[in-house]
Every structure is written in C-alpha cells, then in structure tokens.
C-alpha cells in the first residue's frame, strides 16, 4: 500500500511542477546556475571515472580474448561500444545519482525543515516549480554533454592503457574504434541519459520536498533519493534497451 501511496504522491508532485512560472527571467537564471552546479562541477569526477573505465575495459577485453582467430582490433571495438552503449550513459548517471541526487534531496530537504519552502508558498510562489523545474531542465540539458565527454575520455583512456601497458598495439585499437561505427548507438545513449536525468532530479526533489522532521530525516531523504534513483535507473535501462534494441 505504501508504494502505491508514494507513487500517487510522486505523480501529484509532478503535476504541481508545471504551472506558469512567476518570472521567466528568474527561472532562466536559475537554470544556468543549476547547469553549473550539476554539470560543470561534475566534470572532474566524470572524467576521472571514464578514463579508468576505458582503460580497464581495454585491458580486461585483451585478457579475455584468448582465441588467435579473433583480430586484436576487436578490443577497440568492444571498448568503444561498451563505453557508448552502457558505461557512459548508465554508470556515469549512477555516479551522478549519488553526487547530484543526494545534493538535491538534502538541499530541498533542508529548505523544507527550516521553513524556507513555507516562506515561498506564503509569498504565493509555486515552491515546487521554482525549486525543481530549473534543476530538471538543467540536468536534462547538461548531462548529455557529460556523457558525450565520458564516451570520448573513456575511449581515449583505453588507448592510453594500450599505449602504456603494451597489451595491444595502439594502431589496432584505433582501427577497432573506427570499425563499423553505428551513430545510432550515440542517439540511444542520449535517449537513456535524458530519461535518467529526469529520474534523478524528479526522485531526489520529491524525496527532499516531502522531508519531515530535522537533520536526521534530511539525511534519510538523501539516502532514499540515491537508492531509489539508482534502482529506477537500472530498471529503466532494461526497459529502454528492450524497447529500442530488442
């Protein structure tokens, strides 16, 4: 019963977001600020994780390719497609669910328990719209760029691993990443990214918005935001893959 009441509250919350904004210029400025907070500030962690993911995929693929019949350039192909189709959109968004999701839930949760949201409502401002919509728009616009950067850096990380460890000649790796490239894979990754960005921001905002109590409950909301966002990302990853690729 609890899950249904939570789902009901979530959809009611979603419905409250999309009323006419009080001042469009204020919302535009807030979207820019959120893009910086969600996107630019996550660039470091995204780059770091991607470069090591690409490197590890490359080395592990070489390690598992024991047949001499399989050409070595397949390693580059596997690294490229793994990064583009799964690792960049899904793993990076799971990382962002932890970083951005917890930050959104704790920010909005703290505003709730310190009556800042009540203050907005008494002024006649749609508090959920004002607080959540800019985060949602910013995440939907900026995360595809983060994922594109992740793809590029991850593939480059594979090349660096090939160069540094010598497990595969870099020429073969370069040939592999160019071999039978399907641009649709990038489109598919972008579709997943946009859906995941929506899930992270909406679930985290929802958890923060309905926080009741004090600092302990803010922490609990933050944890729930990360857990629920991550679970929903994995479920939707399967659903989208089934719908588009199967």
């Amino acid at each position: 019963m609890n899950i249904f009441s939570q789902l009901g509250r979530y959809w009611i919350f979603m419905a409250t977001l999309f009323s006419k904004p009080e001042k469009a210029s204020v919302y535009r400025k807030r979207v820019m600020e959120e893009m910086e907070s969600i996107g630019v500030s996550s660039l470091g962690i995204v780059t770091l994780i991607s470069v090591f993911m690409g490197a590890v995929i490359t080395i592990q693929t070489v390690y598992n390719l024991v047949s001499p019949l399989v050409p070595l350039y397949v390693v580059g192909l596997v690294a490229r497609d793994t990064m583009i189709i799964e690792f960049s959109p899904t793993i990076i968004m799971l990382v962002l669910a932890g970083k951005v999701g917890s930050s959104i839930a704790s920010e909005i949760g703290t505003m709730r328990v310190t009556e800042q949201i009540d203050a907005l409502e008494i002024m006649g401002i749609n508090s959920s719209g004002y607080l959540v919509v800019p985060k949602m728009i910013a995440a939907i616009f900026i995360t595809p760029f983060l994922v594109l950067i992740s793809m590029f850096v991850g593939i480059a990380g594979g090349w660096l691993a090939a160069l540094a460890s010598g497990v595969i000649p870099p020429v073969d790796y370069i040939k592999g990443i160019q071999y039978e490239f399907l641009p649709f894979n990038v489109t598919f990754a972008m579709i997943k990214t946009v859906v995941f960005a929506f899930l992270i921001t909406s679930i985290s905002s929802f958890q923060g918005f309905y926080t009741q109590g004090g600092s302990l409950e803010v922490g609990q909301s933050s944890t729930k935001a990360v857990v629920y966002s991550s679970v929903m990302i994995l479920i939707f990853d399967y659903v989208i893959t089934q719908l588009i690729l199967a």
Binding site: S19, E22, K23, V26, T110, M111, T114, E115, Q116, D118, A119, E121, I122, M123, G124, I125, N126
Partner: protein, 248 residues
C-alpha cells in the same frame, strides 16, 4: 480584518482545533497565546493556507480564503508577510537578496526601484550595513530583523509572526516586539502573533486569543487578563513567580 469562522482541524483522527472563531483586527497587534500543543501553530498554518481546514473558513476582508485554490489565493498571499520562528531566510542568498526576493518574483519594479525598497526596509529594521552578509554570518536577532524586512518588502496588509522572540535574549526580544508594534501602526497591518512570551503578552496584547486544548477559551486585552476569572488562562499567564508578583 482576518476572520476565522468555526475552524476545525485534525490530524490522523485527532482533533487539534475545534470550532475556533475569532476576528483579528487591522491596525492592531493580535496575539494567539496558549500552552505548547494547544493548537495555536496549527491555527496560524490554517490561516496562511499551509494547512487546509477540515471545516469552517478563513476570510481576509470578506474574501473566503479557504475555498480558493493555489492560483486564486495568489493575490491574497501577496498581501501577506510572515516572520517565521526560525526566520526561514534563504541560506544561499545574501541579506539584500533575501529582502529583494519577493520584489523580484512578484513585482514589476526595475532593479533600482527594488534596490531602493531594500535599502528602505533594511534601514527600517536598523540594519543599514548588512546587505552583503549571508544568513550564516549574522546573529539570531539580526536574522529576525532581516525576516521582518523581507516580510514588509511588499507592503503587506496582513503580517504573521510565529514565535518572534524564540531563541532571543530579553533585550533583543523587546527590540523585535517594538519593531513589530511600530510597523503595525505605521502600515496599519493586521498583525497576528503566535507567542507564549509573557513580556510580549503584557506589552503588545491589544486583542488576545487564548487557545486551550484546541478550543477558543478566552479573548480580550492585556488589561482584561488581570480581571479574568478564567482558571486555565490564569494557570497559563501566571505560572511564573514574576507574573504572580506582577498581579499582586
């Protein structure tokens, strides 16, 4: 004038407010007093629309607030200023941005007009040089004054103050009380204060509503408190030795 008519409110089957009716007058400091858990905060939350009433109605100058939805309430909400118990200043904004926020969101003023209004409001609460400070950098008393400046920025007709003196030292409490009284007189606001600070009751009580166990138990003025034979009111007001001596 704000009129509360037969308001009833409960949570999880338990009645918190029962058939409360009262008139809060314009140009006066109206106090809601009562022990902790008596229902006074719920009454204020019902009055500002943060909590919906189960029965009865809230009227702002004969406009039925309880029957309105979020959109139709907007014009009335813009006439309301509220000082929260914990000040509720936006942490990410400076003092100046906090006071400017309602003007930026709800008015069509230019930046210079808004800046002038902010200067005026901060001057009015005796905080002329705090524009660039963040809420985390100022004291509790200063936070309350910034919150008052934010509450009056839009020239409200109705001013709510939830426990304005909580967490403040006695001297600062007097400063805040005086400020609220001056603003009420200057702007002829209908000021509603939820308090259990006896000093506020004795100095500001022009129209006092005493809530006991969720019901309107007594109403009157400070002078009438001393003549009242209401047992629960007596117990509440004259609980401390200082108040007992004052009565003698």
């Amino acid at each position: 004038m704000i009129e509360v008519k037969n308001v009833t409110k409960g949570f999880n089957g338990k009645k918190i407010l029962e058939n409360v009716s009262h008139k809060f007058e314009r140009g006066k400091v109206n106090l809601i007093i009562g022990a902790s858990g008596s229902g006074k905060t719920v009454l204020v939350k019902c009055m500002v629309g943060l909590v919906e009433v189960d029965a009865g109605r809230i009227e702002y100058d004969e406009r039925n607030f309880s029957e309105m939805d979020f959109q139709t309430r907007k014009p009335i909400r813009r006439e309301i200023g509220m000082l929260f118990q914990g000040s509720a200043l936006f942490d990410s904004m400076t003092v100046e941005q906090n006071v400017m926020f309602p003007l930026k969101m709800l008015s069509n003023m230019s930046y210079s007009e808004r800046a002038d209004r902010v200067n005026f409001c901060l001057q009015r609460v005796n905080l002329p040089n705090s524009h660039k400070l963040f809420p985390s950098e100022i004291s509790g008393g200063m936070k309350k004054r910034v919150a008052i400046a934010r509450a009056i920025a839009m020239n409200p007709k109705y001013l709510y103050c939830d426990e304005p003196n909580s967490g403040l030292d006695p001297k600062t409490s007097i400063v805040i009380d005086e400020l609220i009284m001056e603003i009420t007189e200057e702007y002829q606001t209908c000021t509603v204060i939820n308090t259990h600070d006896m000093n506020s009751v004795m100095t500001m009580g022009e129209n006092i509503l005493f809530i006991h166990q969720g019901k309107k138990w007594w109403s009157g003025t400070t002078a009438q408190i001393f003549k009242s034979d209401n047992e629960e009111l007596d117990e509440f007001i004259f609980a401390s030795k200082i108040m007992q001596n004052l009565r003698k």
